[in-house]
Symmetry: C2
Amino acid sequence: MSDLLTRLRARGWHLTAQRRAVAEVLHGEHLHLTADEIHERAVGVLPEISRATVYNTLRELVEMGEVLELSADGKARRFDPNVTETHQHLVCRGCGALFDVPSPDVSELAPPRAHRHGFTIDAVEIVYRGLCPSCQAEPVRPPDGRRPAG
Amino acid sequence: MSDLLTRLRARGWHLTAQRRAVAEVLHGEHLHLTADEIHERAVGVLPEISRATVYNTLRELVEMGEVLELSADGKARRFDPNVTETHQHLVCRGCGALFDVPSPDVSELAPPRAHRHGFTIDAVEIVYRGLCPSCQAEPVRPPDGRRPAG
DNA sequence: TTCCATGCAAAGTGTTTGCAATAAT
DNA sequence: ATTATTGCAAACACTTTGCATGGAA
């Protein structure tokens, strides 16, 4: 419900100028920035903030459960401030574009106990993969312009 | 059905000693090795094989659709040779252990057209996150032994 | 001969860490 | 005073790339 900054204040987290800058960058619901993008934007707010502090802060936010970490694209992690509404992600194979989508009912999806290897399960994450409109037009265009074999 | 090496032969792929070594390492159904682990094992078969060749070969196999790439843990990618049976993955938050689980019926899970942002969707990937039996015993023990804040 | 695959080493990303300086209680 | 946080730079882990060599068609 409330935004990240409000939740952090409510939780009594020690809010330095740097941590506030990161939290401000993460304001919003449909944001999926990489750590470096967050650093770039945080520099706009607080010019002397360092990459290390951004990484440290993000790690802490993830550990506190106030930010989600997405590893949908194998490359840089993305950070998602929307932890209050369960949702899933749509990812373009061509350009990596990433969108939130509402979650279907996942209560029936967990594997039967016989296949759980003794695990407890606390989250069901779904990634829908496909092509965004512009990558449908020009077949697959990976970052380097190479074509897939096939 | 058939194993990777057989499929590659059937497809007429130019099978050098190096590519064969990689394919042999990837023999099996429930394997989720990183590129470096694959290189290590391939060296056991063909001592002079280089990392670059392993990476190149893996990229080609993924592009051909003969191997799946998993990015479930944000760190190193893992390569999954089981492309013949749709399945999903169970991942431990504590130690990163990763298991295959049978896929539930995903035909009803795709988001309604209104939420697809014009994407085509060709795959639905599910990651179940939780704790494996040994990480349940000793709370969370990330690779470096640090405890999450709480 | 022509082309493709390989190996090496270097460069490129993305991320973490050691440590001294600084700011907060 | 004491403790926590920051910034810097170096270290690290993972992956890709340029180029000369070598083998296959």
